[in-house]
């Protein structure tokens, strides 16, 4: 039984080699024809594409008839290597490195490995676009930070160089103290116990904060930190705007206060921070 299996395997291997050989021969004939008749565009022979295709096709058809299955178009791969070595190394060793050479190599590779090459091309294209977008945003942020910092720091000293990459500091405790020093009651519950008050009306205030899309994994912590600071700043600003509105209406507090965060924009590029509650006059 074992002997018979070995024999079958041997026959299968021989048949496969015959198919590969036949496919390679077909590819070489096609390549020869293309070379002989100079079928080329701007000096670039089309046989580089059609020869591996012909080899793979011939091998597949033959393998299907003789073995009854596909053996993977190995001859197309052999032809691909052969044509590249022959054309780019042996036939034209002085071939210069230019955009046509690079483009030709990509086209040849694409013909030989379409799925892999298309995937790589898409990845590269996507990567370039992302990187370009990120670079522009980085410079925009640098310029904005420089302008912002210059306004604040210039009067203190002119010698200090401002580092646009330095992370801003947000003092949460101080910020919270300042918010509550506003002589205003921010109350999240829906009632004030043991105090008399008059309801004024519903107030709301919105602040929109730009959202960072985190692309580079290495920078995600810094981006998250900056994002969180922007959100906290936005929240403080929204609360102050709300308090100002209530004060302008003659109130001195807000009850049932809620703070909501939601994504807005075409692809959720911004964060809307909404604060709302009932304005009251606490007696």
């Amino acid at each position: 039984m074992e002997f018979r299996n070995k024999k079958i395997d041997k026959i299968y291997t021989i048949k496969s080699i015959i198919c590969i050989f036949a496919g390679t021969s077909a590819g070489l004939i096609v390549y020869g024809i293309f070379l002989f008749f100079h079928i080329d565009i701007f000096g670039w022979n089309l046989g580089l594409i059609f020869a591996p295709l012909a080899a793979g096709y011939a091998e597949t058809i033959l393998a299907d008839k003789i073995i009854g299955e596909n053996i993977g178009a190995i001859s197309a791969f052999i032809l691909f290597i052969y044509t590249v070595i022959y054309s780019f190394i042996l036939k034209n060793p002085t071939l210069g490195w230019n955009i046509i050479t690079a483009g030709s190599i990509i086209v040849i590779l694409q013909a030989a490995f379409p799925t892999v090459v298309n995937f790589i091309l898409l990845s590269v294209f996507g990567g370039i676009l992302s990187n370009f977008n990120k670079t522009i945003k980085k410079y925009e942020h640098k310029i904005k930070t420089r302008i912002k910092n210059q306004n604040i720091v210039k009067w203190e000293t002119k010698d200090i160089e401002i580092d646009a990459d330095a992370l801003p500091i947000y003092d949460e405790l101080e910020s919270n103290m300042l918010l509550n020093d506003f002589e205003f009651y921010f109350i999240t519950s829906s009632d004030i116990i043991d105090k008399e008050y008059d309801l004024i009306k519903l107030f709301h205030s919105e602040v929109i904060v730009e959202k960072d899309n985190i692309i580079q994994q290495s920078e995600h912590e810094k981006t998250e930190y900056l994002q969180l600071i922007r959100i906290k700043d936005g929240k403080d600003e929204s609360l102050l705007k709300l308090a100002t509105k209530v004060k302008n209406a003659g109130g001195n507090g807000i009850i049932d206060l809620t703070i909501n965060y939601s994504l807005i924009g075409f692809s959720g590029d911004n964060i809307q921070i909404t604060t709302m509650g009932m304005g009251v006059l606490i007696k």
């Binding site: 509550n180 009632d191 985190i214 959100i231 964060i271």
Partner: protein, 107 residues
């Protein structure tokens, strides 16, 4: 520090409203976390890795809020609200966990 989502504290008298206290934290934007979260626990189908991260973020938010209340000399937070908002992100989810309430002093 007593934390409650209700308007008042039972059997306790509020003597002063100290002000608003908030706490925020962000989690996510990490492809590895997202990948691992896909490996769900067999029992119950829960993503324990994400649960842990969210709990951690909530703890940070609540702790930050408590610190601010302590600074205001409060001994309780009433009307407490905790929310979880998905802010999205190119490399996965970014979740903003916020906690806020009213710091009070009771006797």
């Amino acid at each position: 520090m007593i934390l409650t989502s209700s308007n008042t504290l039972e059997n306790k008298k509020i003597i002063e409203y100290k002000g608003l206290v908030t706490g925020e934290s962000l989690i996510g934007a990490n492809i590895y976390k997202d990948l691992f979260s896909g490996v769900r626990d067999v029992v119950g189908g829960r993503t324990s890795r994400y649960e842990e991260e969210i709990q951690k973020a909530r703890d940070i938010s609540v702790q930050s809020m408590i610190e601010k209340a302590e600074q205001l000399d409060a001994n309780a937070i009433i009307g407490l609200k905790i929310s979880y908002d998905n802010l999205g992100g190119t490399m996965g989810n970014t979740i903003l966990v916020t906690a806020y309430g009213t710091a009070i002093k009771f006797e």
